[in-house]
Amino acid sequence: MIRCPKCNALNKDGSSFCNKCGSPLQKTQIRCPMCGTLNPVGNLFCDRCHARLVPLEKVIPPESTAEPEETSASRVQGISLPTRPAATGEGAADKGEESLNWLEGLLKPESEAETPPSETSLPTAGLPDWIADLAPAEPEVQEEAEAETTVAPAELPAWLSGLTPAEPTEESASAPAIPQDTELPEWLAAQGEEEPPAALSTPEQEAPPAPAEMPAWLSGLTPAEPAEEAASAPAISRDTELPEWLTTQREEEPSAALNTPEQEISPAPAEMPAWLSGLTPAEPAEEAATSALDTLSDESQKPTPQEEVAAEIPAWLADLAPAGTAPESKTVIFTDEETTSAQEIKTPVPELETEKAHKTPAWLQEITPAPETISPPPSVPAFTLEEGEPPAEETGEGVVFLDEPAELAEKAVEIPDWLRDLAPTSTEEAPASAALQQAEVPQWLESLRPPGTGPLPETALPDTEPGSIGEEVAGGLIKAEIPTWVQQLRPDTTATVAAPSPLDEVATSPQEEAGPLKGLQGILPALPVVDMPPDFQPQPALGASSQVMEAAQLWQDLLQHPRSTKRPVARAHARPGWGQTVSRWIVAVLLVLAALAPILGFLPETLAQPPLQAGVAPLQLAVEGLQAGDTALVALEYGPAEANEMDHITEALLTHLMEHGVQVVAVSTVPEGVGLIQTWLDWAETRYQPAEGSLVNGGYLPGESNGIAQFLGSPQRTPKPDFLLVLAARTGPLRWWVEQNAVAGSRALPMGVGLSASTGPRMRPYLDVYGVQGWLIGLPGTTAYWQSRGIRPNEGLARRLDALLLTQWVAAGLLLAGAAYYLTAGKKGAA
């Protein structure tokens, strides 16, 4: 439910406007266009079907459009990284989101290992210019590429967002300018200001970190010599596949950096980001630089026992073919990796989309660099060497590779075509053989060290004295020169850090101490709802009003108190108003007066003139046709409640029967009818003194219709009746008698019916059935029956008939008055 910030009313999820006040509501959920699932606002991809929720263009910050040189041809697309949208402005860099710590080794040694930007902060679309410049092209193209300082691909991780093109000039030490107004993490933003030599000069001063994650191609990185050469080619493990664009960076580094890697750096980060995990060995290339990449990813090569598993090579690097060396190529420092094949690299990548680990990012796939822009790496990485081929000379900035050509030769490195095209056409020699040297592992890389691995022995660490690039230092490691472009990636420790947001607090969680993620820090920031730590207290987006707080407090108090055992008292019915009471009394008084006035003799004469009913005459004729000695079966089917009305009907008909000397057999299917039968038989015997046995009390007849059928079908019980007279005030008994008598067919008895005024209209259909000779209904019918016999009805009957007339006329008048009042009064009267 969404609470309106204006009126505090609750609205359904997904509502755009408040149902109560109409104010617009903050979107709290996004509905997936594919599957319709509601997702949190921060999601870029649907949690259910992984469809994109936010259009690509929406992810691109507006700052990216300020760069005209920002490549339009090489917009980074297709990297589907998780869900947090890129923050705009400097906050993106200052979010403190963790990026791949393994890249911190590319930084200056004395720089603090600041948390690089998270991969989840997706930069704007567009390839970094340094990638575009890596095409094997003329130097001038690379110079243009250098001018492109900022790229903000839409889906690149933050640490890649600040990647700038390589400096095409021979100032290999100069780092590519990184525009300050782009979305660069701090540590990237400061790269443009740092001097590469300075950065390279103190790699040995920095204590080598123990990275928990380190890709293979970074494992062999060593700090570049800051001196006379350009950034030396980094030591690249043969286990990793250097992308061609990395090999081109070695133009700034002396190829001497690419000495044969004699020593291998043991640290092997256990985890590699997904985008690096798909690194596969590059194919051998014509140039030494490309060939160094080609032979790296030999799947058949097994890691030596001493070697540690390197991080997974990302897919986009797996397809990279070693490009030719270029003088302007930047050097890349990689730590030595043991394994070479992508399959052997077991570094788990937490919180990254592993399904994309082996895919070449779209932003890389779309790179169509001109052949001239690619500068081969200054040095040939060892993993790209052909079989038996000695490591290439180090020609400056380049890549330093491990010097195990035999091993490298067994690897099969797949380099994508686009990188293959970036291979420099120049015949410049590939830098010296990839002499992987023991790189000084920065702290942020050291934190990525997989569990079970330890920091590099100090003997393996490079000397504090920066030696020349390619020079073997203590521990068998060859010092490598950090290319300037890598140094530019170093997090800027001097930049001010913005006030940590709750996300920052959550993101900077301590390292895991157990489990498969031991030694790792969270790479992605914890979602404020899902992943927040136990002690995390999220601040509500909307403050609760005082009324809401009071209601909540009341609820809490009610729930805390024990339940009362006292039962709630039912609310008394609402008493009627005085108007209803008066109207009731008026109606009752009028009806009573109308009923009592004739009975008490207040009327001078009889008012009622009852019409002759259609069934009265046939009934009178049917009874008149009975002879003395015939038997009439009389069914008294009414009770004490209807006796006041039915007694008059019974008297009229029974008198007629007795005057003709008919024997009467009285039965009743109503339990209380037995008493009435006896009463009438006593009356008849007293008045007419018939012969003995002329009046028979048949008693109660159980079984309803079955009993009637049984009674009529068993003539042994009673003498066969000659006439059936049903006196009923209820519908059921009349129906039974009529039905059972009609079923008899030819043996059906002639039937007469006497009904009450309430039963008559309802049972009129049964009065036209075969066998019913005649009928009369109510007091009017009784009066008409007496008049048809030529006998004046008694005074009591006349008075009752007048009372009935007056009562019915008063009731009709009251109904009309009420209808007229409520019709004319309208809604006011209805209320």
Partner: protein, 202 residues
């Protein structure tokens, strides 16, 4: 299983036998039918006795707990037991039984019917207050015509009331009665075929 199937089997077999005895009045079926009907009447009487005893039990419990309305329950229990004893010993046609009926039952039930008449008139007056539809107005009009036409002071009103009773009311009642008859037939057939089992726990 026996608890569920036995009642159903008895009901189905009994219904079929009675129906066959009605449609085929041959010798064995006719006697079986009459025998089963007598058993049904005896069971009905015992059901009436059980209902009476249950009524006494409910009011005795209420009387024992002194619940609300216990005085009314006391009067009911006393009258029920006294009439039962009186009629059982004296008979339903004795003087005391007739006195009870003529002097207590008849006035009481007549009074209740009289109150019903007042209530119906009041409800009719307020009907348009609750529902102002053409059906309500037509209902009131017909009611007024019947009231003044049943005992007419003017002859034409009687003819109108008689026509209303003989034509539209008669047609409606016939339709209703046909529907009731068909429904009753279907309900009985459902019991005979076992589709409806009111006698079992299903």
């Amino acid at each position: 299983m026996l608890k569920r199937t036995l009642p159903t089997a008895v009901a189905i077999s009994t219904g079929i036998l009675v129906l066959l005895g009605s449609f085929l009045p041959v010798s064995p079926l006719r006697e079986v039918r009459l025998f089963l009907i007598q058993w049904a009447m005896v069971l009905g009487i015992f059901a009436f006795i059980l209902a009476f005893l249950h009524l006494l039990r409910v009011h005795l419990i209420r009387l024992g707990r002194r619940s609300k309305g216990w005085s009314t329950s006391l009067l009911l229990v006393l009258s029920a037991i006294s009439v039962l004893l009186l009629v059982s010993t004296q008979g339903p046609t004795s003087q005391w039984s007739q006195h009870l009926m003529n002097d207590f039952l008849v006035p009481g039930e007549s009074a209740l019917l009289a109150l019903t008449a007042v209530t119906l008139v009041l409800a009719g007056m307020r009907m348009l207050r609750a529902r102002r539809t053409s059906g309500s107005i037509l209902f009131l009009l017909i009611a007024v015509l019947m009231l003044v036409g049943t005992v007419p002071y003017v002859g034409i009103l009687g003819e109108i009331a008689d026509w209303i009773q003989g034509v539209p009311a008669l047609a409606g009642m016939r339709g209703l009665l046909l529907g009731v008859a068909l429904g009753t037939t279907m309900a009985g057939l459902r019991v005979v075929f076992g589709a409806t089992r009111p006698h079992s726990d299903d």
